[in-house]
């Protein structure tokens, strides 16, 4: 035993007060008992996050109304849920994150990010803080040990990533899922939007648009991404469709999208030489519960 190696009892408990009575001398062992007990208390862990969602499992992903469920994005890591702030015991340098979740069809990865474990765009399976949902058939219990700052406030953010596992959008539900773009078509692309003058056919004949009264399914907020290609080349990175509508009956379709990376929207200029477009969806995943516990460790 080194005098610099920390020791502790495995459990905090009562000490016999008779051994520490007033006027009695204390030997190193008795002092050690006090210190080991103290150290056990010092390392005691408590829950810091308990975040449940609707665990409704009967039906499709779409029908699980209160669940935390998302389609993966095409490019890189994409945010999952909100940042979850919490208070914790100062000095605690790690938390154990527990997730109960289900990946729809293929292996999905979830990166846990804190102030002490910053977002890593190149993180991969097996890296510290990366949780993988492996089984596509049943929900899984998965854990990760994540570094946290030593202070009293931290926040946990989750990001997801998946290997490409795509399928075309359901044209019966949402509208056309592929087509061509004529060269020279009025076609404007911004950092987070696309304005597209179809001419003929009218946009409403191509995609379903939002109907606030009935709120029918559209590509808006459905987790689909649009891909543009020409002669095997790619115009743009796939973009997740945020909303899709027609501007005032003028035959102009309008798509806004969200950048998948946690970065500012980039500005893109694009020369339309014609090509094809298609709308795809990645596999989905569902999370029923996120919990985090202080790690019992010596720091």
């Amino acid at each position: 035993m080194s005098i610099y190696s920390f020791e502790r009892f495995n459990h905090f408990g009562w000490l016999d007060s008779a051994a520490f009575a007033d006027g009695k001398s204390l030997d190193a062992f008795k002092l050690g008992c006090i210190a080991w007990n103290h150290n056990a208390l010092r390392d005691e862990r408590e829950p810091v996050l308990s975040v449940p969602f609707d665990a409704y499992q009967d039906g499709s992903f779409v029908d699980a109304y209160g669940a935390l469920q998302m389609r993966h994005s095409f490019a890189g890591w994409s945010p999952v849920y909100w940042p979850m702030p919490f208070m914790k015991r100062p000095h605690c340098g790690k938390i154990d994150v527990r997730i109960y979740g289900l990946s729809e069809s293929v292996r999905a990865h979830i990166q846990c990010v804190t102030a002490a474990s910053p977002f890593n765009p190149n993180a991969k399976e097996g890296d510290a803080g990366v949780i993988s949902l492996l089984n596509a058939a049943t929900a899984e219990y998965v854990s990760a040990e994540v570094k946290v700052a030593r202070g009293s406030i931290e926040q946990l953010s989750l990001f997801s990533r998946i290997s490409i596992q795509e399928s075309l959008g359901d044209d019966g539900t949402y509208g056309r899922n592929a087509g061509t773009i004529g060269p020279g078509t009025d076609f404007k692309v911004g950092g987070d939007y696309l304005m597209w003058n179809f001419g003929s056919p009218a946009p409403a004949d191509v995609w379903r648009f939002n109907n606030e009264a009935s709120y029918t399914s559209t590509y808006s907020r459905s987790g689909h991404s649009i891909v543009f290609q020409t002669d095997g080349g790619l115009y743009l990175p796939p973009k997740r469709i945020e909303d899709i509508w027609e501007i005032g009956g003028q035959g102009v379709g309008y798509i806004s999208w969200r950048n998948q990376e946690p970065l500012a929207a980039e500005e893109i200029e694009m020369l339309n030489r014609g090509g094809t477009w298609s709308i795809h969806a990645q596999s989905a995943f569902r999370i029923s519960s996120i919990c985090a516990y202080e790690s019992r460790e010596i720091i």
């Binding site: 920390f6 050690g32 208390l41 010092r42 408590e46 308990s50 669940a67 919490f86 914790k88």
Partner: protein, 216 residues
């Protein structure tokens, strides 16, 4: 280092064997460290009381359980409520709120937290702190006007720029002396601008953590 007339609990370190192993002359160090640590745990560190998550579903139309977006409203509205026990020695209740907002007019949003009386029954009117005592979380975000044209903005619009705010309330002394079972808890938010015509401001809470602290 020795202080018998006060309470030291500003930190809690592990006690190394060097403090106690056959070092009678340093015995006081071990005892003092253990005592300080005990005070520390008794009187410090934030602990979770309640987590309020909201569903998150970006697939298809299944988004009913998500928290409705609050459009402009001149009054406070509730974003979380609960019925909790306030532990002994707790001096502050703290809320950490993950949220986002869109505002064409660069509104700010205020958050506040309130706890009920100590009667053991939920009160119809929680004891709310005055505006002077609440910790304001000013967040300004000039949103995308296109997104504001819709009555049901996409969660991802908000999600693109989440904010973290905190607010807290210092408890009355009665809360610090006894354990208070069954106390009503309310977290609320409010836009700062008092112009009712500002229909383009939208607020969406995502996650709320509520805990207590004992600040001694």
């Amino acid at each position: 280092m020795t202080q018998f007339d006060g309470v030291e609990y500003s930190t809690c370190q592990l006690i190394p064997p060097a403090h106690y192993h056959a070092k009678a002359s340093l015995a006081g160090d071990a005892l003092q460290a253990a005592m300080q640590g005990a005070y520390y745990f008794a009187r410090h560190s934030g602990r979770m009381l309640l987590c309020q998550p909201y569903g998150w579903n970006n697939i298809g139309a299944g988004r009913y359980a998500q928290r409705a977006v609050q459009t402009y409203n001149a009054n406070y509205w509730r974003i979380a409520e609960g019925f909790i026990d306030v532990p002994p020695y707790a001096t502050h209740i703290v809320a950490l709120i993950s949220f986002a907002m869109l505002s064409q007019d660069e509104h700010s949003v205020l958050h506040r937290i309130a706890v009920g009386s100590d009667t053991g029954q939920p009160s119809s009117t929680p004891v709310a702190p005055s505006d002077e005592t609440m910790v304001a979380a000013f967040q300004k975000y000039k949103g995308d006007p296109r997104s504001q044209l819709k009555t049901r903005p996409d969660p991802s619009v908000f999600f693109a720029n989440p904010k973290i705010a905190s607010c807290e309330i210092e408890l009355d002394t009665e809360y610090t002396e006894t354990s208070n079972a069954g106390v009503e808890l309310v977290v609320e938010a409010k836009f700062t601008k008092e112009e009712a015509s500002s229909n383009f401001s939208c607020y969406r809470p995502g996650f709320i953590w509520v805990g207590y602290e004992c600040r001694g």
